[in-house]
């Protein structure tokens, strides 16, 4: 593909060179955060979490397309999404360290279950696929209140086999709700590969069963993901109903820090998957589009490393929640005396 074509891809979507640099930085930052959290887990400082390595483009590209009023229903593997949404790295690390100043859950949840009223992120669920029903409910609320908001729901290939997916997709389609179903197909549901998960070739084929538009995109290509998400959002805002976007990605690490994929994944296959790197992909695009010089990578790397180092120090120095406050921040309204309501 010629340089002109590459340029036309981001420019055709109304993105400037600064946007592409910003996308690149957010992807580098996501990877730096992910790497540091993984190392801290191995040091015993951070509890179990799910790495998003290999899915940076799918996450950053889609979240970058959102408007501030839109809502997000996420799974537990979306560090890149919350970074692109504007969560500070300090807040991410305060959460990972379970500190009292974590604005997500005040240190009360397993890492990665982000939630923020300010950023319109519904708190992530651990059960696979339940956020699909939450997200459709959120979109319904927007319609009910007459607001021009969409809800994007993030989930993986494994979640598409759950009943919640089916009920959510049907309901969203029947009522033409402003939903973007953003499936990051990283080829593995823990240890179950795609071939043992569904009998269709692409999950987008499922969309036809709901009378819904389905879009298949290269989840390693941040520009393509951005474009597909923005088109889906436009459909959502204009009342045309939900869209199913399948972003094909690779999962470059084990399912979580507690999983060892050597038991079910051949090393040579993992090595082959590493060649499909969304960052290298974007770098090649930027070179072709004359948006690259050696300073870009160096500056991004240094800036991300500094942010992550600062956030680590910040979290290390922050206090843990007090045992006496175990029950605060759990319910919106706290019943101080459980026997009060017995009548």
């Amino acid at each position: 593909m010629s340089a002109e074509n590459h340029i036309s891809r981001h420019e055709a979507l109304g993105l400037h060179g600064e946007d592409v640099h910003e996308l690149y930085y957010q992807m580098v930052l996501t990877r730096t955060v992910d790497d540091r959290l993984w190392n801290l887990n191995r040091q015993g400082k951070v509890l179990a979490f799910a790495s998003c390595l290999g899915q940076e483009a799918a996450q950053v590209g889609s979240a970058y397309a959102l408007a501030p009023d839109d809502w997000l229903a996420i799974s537990y593997r979306e560090h890149g999404v919350v970074i692109a949404r504007g969560m500070s790295v300090r807040d991410i690390f305060a959460y990972a360290y379970h500190r009292d100043n974590d604005p997500n859950t005040r240190g009360r949840q397993i890492p990665g279950h982000y939630g923020s009223q300010k950023l319109h992120i519904l708190t992530a669920s651990s059960p696979v696929g339940t956020q699909l029903a939450h997200g459709v409910g959120s979109a319904w609320a927007s319609v009910y209140e007459g607001k021009r908001e969409a809800t994007i729901i993030y989930f993986g290939d494994g979640a598409t086999s759950t009943g919640d997916f089916h009920a959510a997709a049907n309901f969203a389609a029947v009522h033409k709700l402003p939903v973007v179903f953003l499936c990051q197909n990283n080829e593995w549901a823990i240890s179950v590969p795609n071939t043992l998960q569904y009998a269709v070739k692409h999950l987008t084929e499922r969309a036809a069963g709901y009378g819904m538009m389905g879009t298949l995109v290269d989840g390693l290509d941040v520009i393509e993901v951005f474009g597909a998400t923005r088109a889906a959002l436009a459909r959502a805002y204009s009342g045309e109903g939900p869209t199913f976007v399948e972003a094909k990605c690779k999962r470059l690490r084990s399912h979580t820090t507690e999983d060892d994929d050597r038991r079910y994944r051949r090393r040579e296959d993992v090595e082959a998957d590493r060649a499909h790197d969304p960052l290298a992909n974007l770098e090649a695009y930027m070179k072709a589009a004359s948006l690259w010089d050696e300073g870009v990578a160096r500056q991004a790397g240094e800036k991300a490393a500094a942010e992550v180092e600062d956030a680590t120090q910040y979290a290390e120095a922050s206090p843990l929640p007090k045992p006496s406050e175990t029950l605060t921040h759990i319910f919106a309204e706290v019943k101080t005396d459980a026997h009060q309501n017995d009548d």
């Binding site: 009943g163 043992l196 009998a199 084929e205 969309a207 069963g209």
Partner: protein, 329 residues
């Protein structure tokens, strides 16, 4: 796959048996002798009779709670079925299941189930057992269009297709999930169209025409039995009475019901038998007369049977009851 004359007459007789059985059951209900709910199959008889005729004796049936017609078509004893509706000990489920839970495993009839859509997963489990044990069995899973928007439908169809399990999914699309019209509950109102999302072959047929149903079911059963995986049939049909006995039917017009009554599957097959010279009017009346006699005896048997004894409360609950518990205290 040919329907010979004897087969057609036998199907006609089965449909009339189901119709008269249910009319008598409705009377029992109004007399207060049947408790709980009663869901009539009147108008949909051609679907169950036609599809079940395509099965072999070793095959299995798993169905929803509008199940009287399916049980009768499978050859369960009408006396014991009516007794079950009345909650009598002589009933097929010992009088503890009632209308929605008719079963006779000796006939491969695993039952009606009360949870909408829940039984679709059970059918897939039975199909997995048949495949695993290398038994030459097909499972016929019957459900309504309302259950296709439930999570179980999705999970079950995906697994059945993925593992090429021997299931025929038979959807009785009678256009209403209780009082909700199919277009109000499903953005894709054709259930057959949903099958592509699971890579399952599917067909949509006129469920009021019993020959069409039989032929489609025979093709589906042959496909499934040959190990090629599941098949889905969407049979378009219509229930003439309400959803259950207490349905005020505010969601459809009387004109609509009348229009469908003109396509009454029993009437249609009767006309076909007459026009093909298989039976004359007298022959049809004779069948009706014979069936009415049977139903009279069925009603007497059921009504004169006793309720289960209080001591039998714990029977038929677990396959292997923990009897030692009684003495444990």
């Amino acid at each position: 796959m040919d329907l010979n004359q004897d087969r057609l007459v036998s199907m006609y007789r089965q449909m009339v048996l189901i119709r008269r059985f249910e009319e008598r059951a409705a009377d029992f209900y109004r007399e207060g002798k049947i408790g709980g709910f009663l869901h009539l199959y009147i108008g949909e008889e051609a679907v169950g009779v036609g599809a079940i005729a395509a099965l072999e004796p070793q095959d299995y049936i798993v169905t929803h709670y509008r199940d009287h017609g399916h049980a009768l078509a499978r050859g369960l004893d009408p006396k014991r079925l009516m007794a079950e509706l009345l909650g009598r000990a002589t009933g097929v489920s010992g009088g503890k299941g009632g209308s929605m839970h008719l079963a006779d495993v000796s006939k491969g009839f695993w039952g009606g189930y009360g949870i909408v859509g829940g039984h679709i997963a059970l059918a897939v489990g039975l199909a997995l057992s048949a495949q695993y044990l290398d038994e030459n069995r097909v499972v016929l899973c019957i459900f309504g269009e309302g259950s296709t928007n439930i999570g179980y439908f999705h999970e079950a169809l995906n697994l059945a297709s993925l593992w090429k399990l021997p299931v025929v999914f038979l959807c009785e699309n009678n256009l209403y999930g209780m009082g909700t019209a199919v277009e109000r509950a499903s953005a894709v109102p054709s259930v057959a169209a949903k099958a592509c999302a699971y890579n399952i072959p599917a067909t949509r047929i006129d469920g009021m025409n019993i020959s069409t149903v039989y032929e489609a079911a025979a093709l589906a059963v042959a496909h499934v039995r040959s190990g090629q995986g599941p098949y889905l049939i969407e049979a378009m049909c219509y229930r003439f009475p309400g959803h259950s006995m207490g349905d005020p039917e505010r969601y459809r017009s009387k004109d609509e019901v009348d229009r469908y009554r003109e396509q009454d599957p029993i009437l249609m097959l009767g006309k076909q038998l007459e026009s093909q010279g298989i039976l004359d009017e007298g022959g049809l009346e004779q069948i009706d007369h014979d069936v009415s006699k049977v139903i009279e005896a069925v009603a007497v048997f059921a009504d004169q049977s006793h309720a289960p004894a209080p001591e039998a409360l714990h029977e038929h609950v677990y396959a292997h009851p923990l009897n030692h518990r009684e003495g444990a205290a």
